[in-house]
Amino acid sequence: MTAAAIDKILLSFFYELQNYFTLAGRTFVRIFQRPFYYREFAIQFDKLGFASLFICILTGLFSGMVMALQSLIQLKPFAATSYVGGMVAVTMIKELGPVLASLMVAGRVGSAITAELGTMVVTEQVDAMRVEGTDIIKRLVGPRLKAMLLALPLLTIVTDMVSIFGGYIMSAGYQINPLMYISGLPQFMVFQDLIEGVVKPAVFGGIIAITGCYVGLNTKGGAEGVGAAAKKAVVLSSVLILICDFFIAKIFVVFRG
């Protein structure tokens, strides 16, 4: 590869990065400005958030069960099975709940947002809206961002609760006293972990919405372009979620002292 080629790739990378953050910043500012598009928000909350409830329940149930199963096997030789509730709770609430729920939703919702906006772009509906005097960011991006900022923490809380229930079922199968399981839940956690458990999904929700909208609004070409864009949005938001997860965890560790 020549220096010129590398130069070109880097330039376009930073150009895209700049546009991405511009969109994120503008949207964030404009969700506090009129008009608020309540109806659009309600539609998106239902379509993106509520409709993802079932996959989050499934995700939570089985990941909680498998966490409990694996912990039980590890803890048994040390006669420490009383810690199982605490282990399930801390891993699910701080890490797996937010990350797994977000990854599931990113696959489902990220692609849907991108495909919808991408189709609107290639059929000139977005241009038509702009000519009609609509602020695309307020009308199309804002409601989706708001819906995800609110929906993903709620979905994550559901995922966490279901996973703790899944762990409970598994432990009961291994003759762990239910009271011991429940009283053991908070043993590895501090209050700040609960905050971490809802801050993460809120950030991830923002990433899914903004990435979906950014890729969708920059779709080129026809039906093929929309397909490629949807794929790109899912991969990009999943990777961003995992990267951000690390940094948010790091920040919380610092504050924990």
């Binding site: 509906q125 241009d127 038509a128 702009r130 009609e132």
Partner: protein, 250 residues
């Protein structure tokens, strides 16, 4: 001669993907002078309309609406000026999540100055103007191509613009459909609206416009009236008006 009642582009260059679409292009649409842009497919006609509306950013040169230069301004900076222009897109570009009625009333509803009843009245009136009242509660996916075009025109009319851009309004229509669109444009012109059309359809062009622009290879090759065009000695224009064997692709 620059008048305040015009939309124009000056010394405009636009390229996409390393390809020059327009080079040093000057164009002016004056109020009351209906124009048509002609040119072979892919010449950049749709691009001109989008540039005039500020939907695309030129590489260099300027676009002005009235006495406001919109190039380089953020969209919110020329929203008001642009509201005097409406466009009927090549594919209709109807919002497919909304019914025909909601499509036509979109801008009125968004602006929120009028009551629901007043909006419904205007929507029905505009749909009546293009003859598709029956489609009020249908979704765009349930319409035929010709109906989509007419609904798109009704939507463009809803906000009562001064200028209306038509991007290939007659392409893909049967002769009766073409006749209807042609008649509709003439009725609009009689109401005092200025039309700018992009088309390959010479009959419609000559029936609805006074000035013609011929676009070829990123340049304006010809600009003038119908007679001037018919008497033109520019080979490309002669070829466009009556293609001969020389134009065969194979």
């Amino acid at each position: 001669m620059i008048s305040n009642d015009s939309i124009r582009m000056e010394k405009l260059c636009y390229s996409v993907g390393g390809r020059r679409i327009l080079e040093n292009f000057d164009f002016q649409l004056d109020r009351g002078v209906n124009r048509t842009i002609l040119g072979i497919s892919g010449a950049g006609k749709t691009t001109i309309l989008k540039l005039l509306l500020g939907l695309l950013e030129p590489n260099s040169g300027t676009v002005s609406i009235g006495n406001l230069c919109i190039t380089g301004l953020p969209e919110s900076g020329f929203m008001q000026q642009r509201k005097q222009i409406a466009i009927v897109f090549q594919g209709g570009a109807l919002f497919d999540s909304m019914t025909v009625g909601e499509n036509v009333g979109y801008r009125l509803f968004e602006e929120g100055h009028l009551s629901q009843a007043e909006i419904s009245k205007i929507v029905l009136e505009k749909l009546g103007f293009v003859g598709v009242e029956a489609a009020l509660d249908l979704y765009p996916a349930e319409l035929s191509g010709g109906m989509k075009k007419r609904v798109a025109i009704a939507r463009a009319l809803a906000a009562d613009p001064d200028y209306i851009f038509f991007d290939e309004p007659t392409t893909g229509l049967d002769p009766i459909g073409v006749y209807n669109i042609c008649n509709l444009m003439q009725r609009l012109q009689a109401e005092g609206k200025t039309t700018l059309m992009v088309t390959h359809d010479l009959a419609t062009a000559f029936a609805t416009s006074q000035r013609f622009t011929f676009l070829h290879d990123a340049q304006m090759l010809f600009e003038g009236s119908e007679e001037e065009m018919r008497c033109s000695t520019i080979p490309e224009v002669i070829e466009f008006l009556s293609p001969t064997e020389r134009s065969l692709f194979v």
